[in-house]
Every structure is written in C-alpha cells, then in structure tokens.
Amino acid sequence: MDNIINFKIRVWRQNGPKEKGQFSEWYDSKELKMDITTDTSFLEMLDILNEKLIEAGKEPFVFDHDCREGICGMCSLYINGHPHGPAQGATTCQIYMRRFKDGDTITVEPWRSAGFPVIKDCMVDRGAFDKIMQAGGYVSVRTGAPQDANAILIPKQNADMAMDAATCIGCGCCVAACKNGSAMLFLSAKVSQLALLPQGRPEAAKRAKAMLAKMDELGFGACTNTGACAAECPKQISLSNIARLNREFIKAKLAD
C-alpha cells in the first residue's frame, strides 16, 4: 500500500515508581514489519508494536488509554517533547499517523511531574487529581428533590463559559507541560465552572481556597503564568480561568 509510513520509535521503560527508568532500544517499524498506514491512530500503532513485542516473547509497553475518543482523559503520553503529541486541541488517542512523516523518529515518555509518580513505563498515578477534587470540586447539594431546573435562569453567555471550563478531561497534560509542575489550569477549570453558575456561587471562595491548599499539599508547583498549560491543553481550556481562580482566592483571603 502506498500510504504506509516507516519510522523509528523508542518508548520509556520503568518498572515502578522507585526504579530507575530508561528508553527502550529504537524500534524500526520497517524491520518489525509493522505496516503502519497513515490512517492508523497513534495508539493503534502502539497496539501493533505491542503485538510485535509479544510475538517475540517480550513484555508489552504499558500505557494508559481507554475511550480512544478524546474524552475520558486516560491517555497521557509525552510524544516528541509535547504532551499529547503534535496536534493542537487533541489527546494522544486522537492523533493519527498522518501527523508524522516517513522516516521520522518518535520518542514516547510519561507525564513527568512530582505529583504523578510512574506506576510502570508510561502509566502514571494521577490520584492526586481526585484528591484535589475531593477537597472542594463540587456543589454541596444532596440527592433529592431540588427546585425545578428552570427556576433559576442562567444567561447563555455564562452557561457557555461554564461549559468551556467544564470541558476539562482531567488528563494532567497541563501539569506535564508546566515547568513548575503546577496543576493550576486543572484546578481553575473546575473553580471557574462552578463560580460562573449561580448554583456554585455560595461556596466559590471557600472552594478555591480548599482546592489550592490541597494542590500545594500534594507537591504540585506554583503557577508563574507561563501559559504552556493552555497552549498544550487538548481541550483548549483558557488561561483566563486561572485569573478567575485567583480572584476567588483573594476574596477568600480577604474574608479570613
């Protein structure tokens, strides 16, 4: 087939959080007869690589993935120096091999951050994000019979802005992109979503403070407004959310 591309790829191998990791050898797609066409997805290419490794009696390369539609936030590879690879506004699972050229070299690494210890190879532990959410990423409402959904009108503009912030998939790309390993974009997306809606207003300041304190406690770095997070974010979450988070945080501090 004429749309086959050949490339060399190496992947990060690490046995556990405390073990020393290293790159694998360079795998040559031609030598391994991978026959990758340009309409193959990046993760399908890795599946095929793994099949070849298993055929050779070797252990497959471990990475997180699940929905393969760019929405679950599970996939998390650092490809050629970019979290989620070369495409803008796309997750790793949404990258197709037509993004690469014949003869390219591809280097695959895990998210690297103090907040995300490696479990194995490129699979990392993002449990810290759950902990940040548990610190306050919700509206304190009980299951039951709240008022009618249309009882509080919400201007379309606010609802749309809240939706844009709520689009965050919690993949951790922002942390991986940040030179300080800060989780501010992730955190600010949730704080913004809820601060923009009347239902979330009562707890807005308290929420910002609690989530920030948890982020600091878990070893994520501070934000220096570099903007790498928003530039790499697969859901294009805006930097303005961080400004909104800071406003809420200052309000909370003033109230103290």
Partner: protein
Amino acid sequence: MATIDSKIPEGPVAEKWTNYKAHQKLVNPKNKLKLDVIVVGTGLAGASAAASLGEMGFNVLNFCIQDSPRRAHSIAAQGGINAAKNYQNDGDSVYRLFYDTVKGGDYRAREANVHRLAEVSNSIIDQCVAQGVPFAREYGGLLANRSFGGAQVSRTFYAKGQTGQQLLLGAYSALSRQVNEGKVKLYTRYEMQDVVMINGRARGIVAKNLVTGKLERFAANAVVLATGGYGNTYFLSTNAMGCNCSAAIAAYHKGAYMSNPAYVQIHPTCIPVHGDKQSKLTLMSESLRNDGRIWVPKKIEDAKALQAGTKKGSDIPEEDRDYYLERRYPAFGNLVPRDVASRAAKERCDHGFGVNNTGLAVFLDFSESINRLGIDIVRQRYGNLFDMYEEITDVNPGELANEINGVKYYNPMMIFPAIHYTMGGLWVDYELQTNLPGLFAIGECNFSDHGANRLGASALMQGLADGYFVLPYTIQNYLSNQEIWPKISTDAPEFDEAEKAWNEKIDRLMNIKGKRSVDSMHEVLGLIMWEFVGMGRTAEGLKTGFKKIAEIKKEFETNLFIPGSKEGLNVELDKAIRLKDFITMGQLIAFDALNRNESCGGHFREEYQTEEGEAKRDDENYFYVSCWQYKGENAEPELSKEPLVYENIKVQTRNYKN
C-alpha cells in the same frame, strides 16, 4: 424451569412507584451507619448510587478499574439525556416518554420499570442543574432541548456534544464530596473478580488490585454491580477499550440469570472500519441526524464509482441521491430509532449501494442544513463532531466541495453501523435485585428498561435514574432485614474458596504458554460475532457461529501466551481474564438469538421479516424476557421465562412510517 417473580407492585402503572415508596421498608439513620454496601463501577449508575448511598449514611466501598472514577465510559456519551419536562410545550408528558420508550424497545420491556424511569426523569435534570452541570441554554436563560430518534417531541437536554461527560462529572463531584466526608472509600485500579455468596446471600467480592496483581477481599451487607454492558464481545465497538462483562459473568457463574443477551444495539452513525488493524470504532452522535440527511446514490453505477474512488459524494447531484430513510419512513425520516436506521443502511449496502472502498458505508450530509442555516450555526451545533471527524478521516464535513446547477454541496460524512450498547444484561426485579439475594445490578449492566432496543439519550437517563432515585430506595427494603446485619469476616471459608479458585484460574491462564496474544484471539471472536451473531442473524449462521466460537475457545485454552508474571501489573493477564468471559458471553448471545425465533429491536433474524424488510415479532410465542442460567462449563445454559404483562400500552407493530 424456575418461576420468576419480578416483584412488580400492585395498582395502576402510574401509581406503582409512589405506592412502593410509601410502603417499602426503610433503615433508620443510626442503623445505616452500621451497614456497608459495595458498589462496583463508577459510571453514571455506579457513581450516582455510591454518592447517594453515602449521603444517606451507608458506608460505601466503590471500585473502578481505571485510575479515577471520572474515566468510566459514561463519559463518552455525546448526544443528551431525555426527560419529560415539556419545556418546549410540544405535548410531552411522563406518559408519552413512557410510551415512546416501550415502543422504541419493540414491546419487550417491562411496563412498570419504564414508567418509573419516565417518572423520575424530570428529577434527574433538576438534580444535575443543582450540581452545576452546564446544560445548553437559550438566550433567555432557559434550558435548551433537541430531538432524538424515536420521538416526535424535543425532550433531550444536552451539554454540547459532551453530555455524558458533564453528567458523569456531576455524579463524580457528588461522589468526591462523599469521599471527603469519609462515607465513600474509593478503590481505583481494582477489578472485581468474583462475588462471594454466604448463606445464599451476596456478602462481598474478591477484587484484583491491578497494580500489585494481588487478590483482595471485601465484605459488605450488599453488593451492587454497575459495570456496564458487554459490547466489547464484538471486539470492535464504540465501547472503551477497558469495558468488559467479567463482573456480570462472575454473577452468572454464581447462578444469576442473564437476560435477553441477544438484544445488542448497533448504532447507525459510526465512522466506518478503515482497515484490519483497528482497535476501536468511533461514534458520531445521533444528534447529527437532527440536521444531517442520510443517503446513498440512486444509481448503482454511481455507487460503483464511489467504491472505486473515481467519484466523490459531492459529485452526485440532489436528484440522483436516495434519502432512503426519508423515503421509507416519511413520518420520522432521519430520526427513526437506531435499530431501524442501522438495518436500513445494511439493506442498501447489501444491495451494492455502499459508498466507500469496502462498500460498507452510507453518507450523512449537511449540505441542505448549511445552505439553509449557514455554516456558522451548523458549526455551533456540531463543530466539535466535525473536528473529530476530520481528525480521524482527514475530511472536513463543513467544507464546500462542489456546486452543481447553482446548488452548493459540502463534503458528506461517511458512516456505518457499529456495536454500541447492550440492552440485555443481568436479570433484575423491580427493586433492581438479581435473583441472588443481596446482589443488585444497575445501569447498562442490567436488562431492565430498554426492551429490545434503546432510544437515543435514554442510557444516561436510566443510569442516573437507577443510581440517584431508584436503587437508594429499593436497596433499603433488603437492608432493613436484620438477619443480614451482623458483619462478616473476610476470613470466612467462602472468601478462602473464592480466592483460591481465582488464583488457580490465573495460574492456569499463565501456564498455557502458547503462542498467541489475547488481542489476536479477541479479534477473531469479534469477527465471528459480527458475521454470524451481528446485525442480520439466521438459524444456520448462528449454528456456524457456535462452532466457530467453540474453536476460538479451544484456541484460547491451549494456545494463549501471556508475557510476564502474575505478580505486579500485567495488562495482558487482565485482558486474558476478560476475554475468557467475552467468549462465554458470545455463546450466551448466540444461544438467545437462536432461541428467539422472531425479529425485534436489536435482534434481527432474517427468516422473520415482512415483505418490506421490517422486523416481524412473534408475540404469541416470544412475549417474554429470556433468563439464562449457568449449568456448568460444558453444559448448555438453562432457559427460564419471565412473561411480559402489558396493561396500559397496546402491543402493536412498530410504525415509523406515518
């Protein structure tokens, strides 16, 4: 054959749920604090149930196989969630949602369950808005709606093309709050392996810690399965890679009924298969059918040119296009239910009118909408779906491609049906309890509400209805029984046995030491399922399917290769355990499909169709829920039947034509 008691409350259908709630037993607040509930799964059903039970005071242990509860595959639902709010003043009501759902399910669902679902649908929207779910709104600030297949009203609430994500994040936030309060304990990267029965009741589970590879034991007063469907039996589906049916099969092996496994939903609007190395299929939301029109060429020579690549869709003018859904079903047009739309696509492709190189695709075209509304409005509605399509196929459906006789034609999308959802599942009674006391099943995992076909935007509705508003009530009727209150130690002999049996099973798999990878065999199983147990089934084909499934089963048992060891993280081992259960599920689907000598909803037997090619039901002989029970590794499962009783809706032939 056992008699089956579905425990449907007395009284008129509209009063059953109210009556049930008024008379069911409750657990008082102090006693709730002493009771533990295991919830397996953190999708819409699992997360909402765990959060609600925790809020009520129960101690909840919540498990998921991913690294976070927020990854569950409910997150990928695109289009929306139905509710009978009638905000559009278009004549909607609880009764109409009930009726549409029963009719959409081809009269194979339980009336009482579906009515309850329609009743609680409105509370779901209220609940989600209160949690801060950013549903789409109109300029006046009111909630917006759109239409979905199988309905003539606009009752679908949505959040862009990411409704499942927003609803799941809402449930996840409620769950996170309970974790913070100490009422829910989360176990991520854990996979349930077995349910532990003690004195005839479900009292715990054995779960595998996927990171350490160790089996661990958990005891509780009741166990709730919210582990989703079995679509990945077909290997290629719109399900996430990790979706599996092992928890449900574990329950089945313990004696739980598996109901209606043949009812598998094939979604009409997926991106077609492009090669033989694909790992998963991508859904294009059904909402696209609001403004997109489905067609194939009228002339066979045009179809041949499209297949050969010498023509493009935009080269074919309006008069040469066959909008076959609009032609066959004038009343519902492009918005017929999924099973009808999928079969109609297959019918055209079987006749040679398919439009891509494999001949297995049809067009979904936005030219008319873009010409009428402008590209901006169309992009506002479906922009993210257009982008997703372009990333995958390299074709931009919003791009002007041709102009013929003054009419502008845009690139159409190519779509084809794919496995998407499974209506069948663990049998449950009205209380969502399986026939194993203390074991409950909610969401896609159970069989209860969709009959033989699910309508669009109803899965999210059912998941949240079960988790927020049904199970937290009905489980108390069980938990109020003081006999089950004493705590059970995980040192009980039943736990020892379960763990020992699983360790042996894992050792057996590791020791096969054959030559083939799990995926290479799963792929074969999928091809067998799609060809012989897929969209068009025949008695003969199903029998061939059985033989072929048995062959791949043998291959699996003798030629499997799992690299590495059972200690620590071993993705291949976990996949192998799941594949073993997919094979069992594949057999069950085939058994049920062969038994059901009729066509209904997602189950289409080619021998049973009308002259016009529509599904032909046999209400005289098959007006029942099939309930299959495990009888041993090499024995055929035993069939019991729960007769369906319709008191409100007249059972008739489904009609979407006029």
